[in-house]
Amino acid sequence: MMPDPPTAPDSARKAARTPWWSRLGFLARLAFITAFALAVAGGAMLYSSVKSDSAWHQANLATQAQTELESLAAVVAEQAVIGDYATIQQSLSARVRRDNIDSVRFADAGGAAIRAEMVEPARRSVPRWFRQLAAVDGGTFSHDILVGGRRYGTVTVQMSATPALDQTWAGFLSHLLILTLALGLNFLGILLTLKTGLRPLDALGQGARRLGGGDFSARIPPQGSTEMRATISTFNRMAQDIQGLLAQVHREKELAQVTLQSIGDAVITTDAGEWVTYLNPVAENLTGWSNAEAYGRPLTEVFRIINEFNREAVETPVDRVLREGVIVGLANHTVLIARDGREYAIEDSAAPIRDRDDEILGVVMVFHDVTEKREMAREMSWQASHDPLTGLANRREFERRLHQLLHTAKAGNQVHALIYMDLDQFKVVNDTCGHVAGDELLRQVTVLLQGKVRGSDTLARLGGDEFGVLLECCPVEKASRIAEEMIDMLKDFRFPWQDKTFMVGASIGVSAISVASTDIHGILSAADTACYIAKERGRNRVQVYSAEDAELASRHGEMHWVSRISDAIEQDAFCLHFQRISPLHRNGREHLEILVRMNGAGGEGLILPGAFIPAAERFGLMPAVDRWVVSAALSAYRRRLELGVDGETWAINLSGASLGDPAFLHFVAGEFERHTPPRGAICFEITETAAIGNLPRVAAFIREMKGSGCSFALDDFGSGLSSFAYLQNLAVDYLKIDGRFVKNMTSNASDFAIVESVNRIGHALGIETIAEFVENEEILTRLRSIGVDYAQGYHVHKPQPLDDLLESSKLAFGG
């Protein structure tokens, strides 16, 4: 909607404010300027002329007076000497007949005077003001008559200014007449020139009025002066351009209309008063208003938007656009209420419509239905932050909220708590009854736990059987009580599955979220550590983390190994050593065990595996370490082969975690393909604990790798929950008798009995035996006496770098 043109009273007021000068016509202006200039110049000239004439006359009067006096003195002197006063009187009278002398006077030395005056003074025709302007004064002049040093008297002449004034006045009138004549001629010239010259202007005016009235075909025949012809020609071109432009604008307008009608977005335009001026079909569909119905209505009536969360009305972006003059987007979560009450989630932007002067004429608002998109985004957002099985927050969301709580704790000095829970029997259920049962168990436990937390708290599933709870504004003591309640609740819980019923236990670690907390990893790590301690201390219990707790701190110290081990893997900072395992009978094959070491930083020296393996196992890094060892060992073995050494069996240790990793088997198979060790070259050592913890997988691994020519040794046999029954399922080739029994076997009868039993059972099952920790000859002799197949220990061989072995083979075989 365009603003109304100014009304008549507005024009009158505007005209009243317009300076009088602006209301004058061109002719009047020109005449005024010219007259003013001429009048000023002429006035100055007249003034200057009068003053110049006056000065000349004044000077001339003085000169005349002086001349007159000198000549009079010469005439009178003679008579004065002889005392002929009558003649003097005649001489004086003769002088005053001149019209520039008012009177002449002679006074003799005694003071007697004779005077002659103008009988009829010249009539003064000069106006009083002019006399004042000219300021010519006749003046009185005197001259002493001195003859031979004697003064005979004084002659005095009173000069008349009248003739000078008359002449000056006449000159003034003459100049005035010329000036008036010049003014008249000037006006006449201007009038004639303009009358002729303005005729084309009238034609231009008529043409402009026709143009203004919408007749864009208006053209004016060229006429008048060269300048006017050029102006008319320009006008005609302008009219032609306007005609062309209008046609183009019309076309573009139609195109714009069609475009607006066609585009997929809804478009609403308003004027600067927020009255609707246009809706395109999409906008009609979404708002439920037709263009015709909506036209002229307030925007807020047609375009009703609310916040989808609080259902409160939202300011339209048009307000901001008009207020700030910038492009504005809709607030998030905006919902459009259509005329029929239907709701559409929309996204929108609004922009000002400006004229050439950058004035805002109105606003164009573009929006589209994003209901589906927003629902999809919501769903994706939910999925990204939640565990699909339990519907709880996932680890990422949990960490995000933990971060927020940490922030509030630091900002507001509030104390919150984190509960870290690990279900104890989940693995059993999962392994025994399958994933379906495990999933169901998790769902039911979730329901139980949800009953124990407030709406403001966060219950999340952090991993397989790990749960986390964030308790807002909750001190650790209270959190600990809640955790205890959870433990009690789970103790009472029974999970029936098919024909079995399982009891579920949990270990819980609690840590505080306070201003003293460093970061979320520290908080999580603390709770995890506390949970670990709870497990260590017998499960089904709650452990609150305390930094002062020496044991906890020690455990916590292992955490530092995580990064060191990770860095060592990445930076190839491990190295391999080996220790020989000697056959105790003649046809035994040469064995050696590959041992891993870590290169310490900065003079730290070699770090033995006892320092970092527990941490690597604890924090799930063993598969990575094992991969490095397998790869490096196979590579070294190939080089040894290349140097001509064959017939050795290298024993490589594998952790339980690696064996439980399905991908590890794939990796090892790949390495075997790459390095192609000969059959019997590699023996994998598996601890009894690891083997029993992952029995199915370990069995599968053994089965698979035996196909590739590998042998297997069961390490530390006798130390754990050794079950001879497992030996039948594991199909190992060697049993390594736990060194704790071996090293004391010569002094401790029970240890000797165990060593002997294990050796016998092994042999009974067709498995060769290896004794560890053989530290002296006596042990070696006893082992040999009882028929143990291999011996390993410092008495046999002390570990040394594998590189030494490779170097020695070079020397031995000239490689």
Binding site: V81, I82, A112, V147, G148, R150
Partner: protein
Amino acid sequence: MRHRILALCAAVLSLGLSSACAAEARGYSFGVLNQRSALLTAQYWNPILEYVGRKSGVPLELRMGKTAPETSGMIGRGEFDFVYSNTIFIPTNAPAGYRVFARPIEPAIQGQIVVAEDSPIRSIKDLAGKEMGFPSLAAFVGYAVPMNALLQDGIKVTPVFAGNQEGIMGQLKAGRVPAAGVNSQVMRDFARRENFRYRALWTSEDYFNLPLAAHPRIGAKEVRAVQNAFLGMAADVEGLKILEASAAVIRQSAPYGFVGAGDREYENYHRYFKTTLVKDCDGCPR
């Protein structure tokens, strides 16, 4: 003194100037015969009279008539206290009793009949029947003496009067008159001043130029004081400067100053008036 003041007042009243009496009573009148214009006369005499008046303590004031006859008449009537005129010797003026006490130091003068140097007139006989210029009837050596010589030679001329000596010399120079009777000294000065060349057709015996004389009513003390001032003037530096300046006005040549004189040195004036054939000159017997 009373008579003098009355006479002055009468003269002033004749001019219609009632307020002039008091002014005229301030000094002794010093009448000068009109030999030149009143202006030149005043320019010549006023400095001298101011000096003499100051030196003698007898203030002198230049007086003269409009013409020489008028001045001569005034001398005859004893209107001047002192005079510089030779008309004191004519019979009509002699009763006034003016007594000579000094004269200019210049040599004696002569009456002359002169013509322009290039004039065809060669002798006074050539003047017979012609117009001849004279200063005035009052001019003794300029008219009375030459005219007497012409009459005694039987030569008749038609006299033309210019009013004074300067006038007739001017007319002679201008050619208005073929010849003129002149004072030889004045003529000489005129010719030098005006660069006029002339010839003298006739020259009289020597006559001392105009004498300085005092009226008998003036006390001997004043006369002596005035005489001493005049006589010492040329010897006084200031007086000599005044004399030279005044001489320059009329281009008078040296020597300047005055010497003492008496009636005896002017005896030939008396003789002339007793024997002259001229009847119309001022003072000449009719």
